[in-house]
């Protein structure tokens, strides 16, 4: 690759495409759209991002670009700002115990995350991906640090509630009786 070192691009993709995809999945709620959004982010990098003078900022740049592309594609809902005016966070709402949570399928956890309101889901997903600090998340979302903390707090409350529902649903799920004998009788 003449315009950009091929090795550098490959390293960048290998280091970040999986967490970027997970972040995109939480935003789009759809694997195909998440894949497209992740690709689009790297294509923008290939076109202009490699001109960044500090390579250490590549990670933040990629996450920020992906998020902006998502917003650009979807058009920001007016509801986003309205959610900021909600009341105080419920104090430690019920959540499944960690060992029960451990037993939950990863896809169910992602589904629960996707049920969190977007304004909280974005910083919360970034927090759980653990690639960016709360300061970097604040910079990316262009909000004060306190707002990020507040959104994490509310987001976690919503996530706990959603996980509790998923866990209860998984526990109460009836498994169909499908032995060969049962088929004969029916």
């Amino acid at each position: 690759m003449r315009d950009m070192p091929s090795e550098m691009f490959t390293q960048l993709v290998d280091a970040h495409y999986a967490p970027l995809f997970r972040f995109a999945l939480s935003l789009t709620k759809n694997p195909a759209d998440a894949g497209d959004l992740t690709q689009q982010t790297f294509f923008i990098w290939a076109k202009q991002g490699h001109a960044l003078r500090e390579e250490g900022k590549a990670k933040s740049w990629l996450f920020t670009t992906l998020y902006r592309e998502f917003l650009r594609g979807r058009r920001r809902a007016e509801r986003v700002t309205a959610l900021e005016d909600l009341g105080p966070v419920e104090a430690d709402p019920p959540a499944p115990e960690v060992d029960l949570l451990t037993g939950l399928d990863a896809n169910l956890v992602v589904q629960a995350l996707q049920e969190v309101d977007e304004v909280y889901r974005t910083p919360l997903t970034l927090f759980y991906l653990q690639d960016l600090s709360y300061k970097e998340i604040a910079g990316m979302l262009e909000v004060p640090i306190g707002t990020v903390m507040s959104r994490l707090s509310r987001g976690k409350a919503q996530l706990r509630a959603a996980l509790a529902r998923k866990e209860a649903g998984a526990r109460g799920k009836v498994v169909p009786f499908q032995t060969p004998d049962a088929r004969k009788l029916s």
């Binding site: 003449r2 091929s6 490959t10 995809f21 960690v98 956890v109 995350l113 990020v148």
Partner: protein
């Protein structure tokens, strides 16, 4: 700092310990160490966060996503203009007067074939849009596909006829370029043919120059009358077997 404030801060503390050096958390962590109830809450919180992070980590991207990003990124980069420090307006202004002098020189200076090669690579990467028709195009394609045809020899190319009778045309720098896909031993190649007279300042030799871009490879040369670029999306070895 009371416990409510400490909780507010601590729930932003990543469970992988990355934030250990961040002073913002220092006082709250210290307080969690002294207050058993807060300490227990923090431990639960961290265990919960750690589990959610681990679950997210288990979500695997689609198997073909990495390859698609690498391939697409390279094609994008090939067609992208580079923005460098000297594109800053201040430098541009300073360079303007020099540019006027250089323009005269550059008008007569041989130009690199890189842009043309990148153009061919990008076009070859979009082969779903390719296609041509006509007897002459078919004959030309058959000749290229024939393993006995040495591509680097003087090929009997009737540019004008191919141009007028159905060969696929693409435009590079405002000039028509012929494009024909051909298959040798089950491998597809893309051949681009331009008239040398249309690109008089393009620096290109009679010995094929090989270049690679990701998984694609290309060879470019001139037979004196034409510029030829052959692109292989299946790697350099397959391309070298043609030459």
């Amino acid at each position: 700092m009371n416990n409510a404030e400490a909780k507010f801060i601590l729930q932003g503390y990543r469970s992988n310990g990355t934030d250990a050096g961040d002073e913002t958390f220092g006082a709250a962590i210290e307080q969690a160490g002294k207050d058993p109830a807060l300490g227990e809450w923090f431990a639960r919180q961290q265990a919960f966060d750690r589990t959610v992070s681990a679950k997210l980590e288990q979500i695997a991207p689609p198997a073909d996503l990495r390859a698609a990003i690498l391939a697409g990124g390279r094609v994008t980069a090939a067609g992208a203009p580079r923005r460098a420090w000297w594109t800053h307006p201040a430098w541009l202004a300073a360079a303007a007067s020099v540019a006027i002098l250089l323009a005269v020189t550059l008008a007569l200076w041989p130009r690199s074939a890189v842009a043309f090669e990148n153009f061919a690579l990008a076009d070859a990467g979009n082969s779903a849009t390719h296609g041509g028709h006509g007897h002459e195009t078919g004959e030309f394609q058959a000749m290229l596909s024939n393993p006995a045809t040495p591509l680097t020899g003087k090929l009997p190319i009737d540019y004008a006829t191919l141009h007028d009778k159905g060969c696929r045309l693409v435009q590079f720098q405002g000039r028509d370029v012929l494009e024909v896909c051909f298959n040798r031993n089950g491998v597809w190649f893309h051949c681009y043919v331009a008239r040398k007279a249309d690109f008089p300042r393009l620096a290109i030799g009679s010995i094929p120059a090989l270049a690679e871009l990701g998984g694609a490879a290309l060879a470019s040369w001139t037979d004196g009358d034409h510029i030829l670029i052959v692109v292989s999306k299946s790697g350099r070895k397959n391309l070298e077997s043609l030459l």
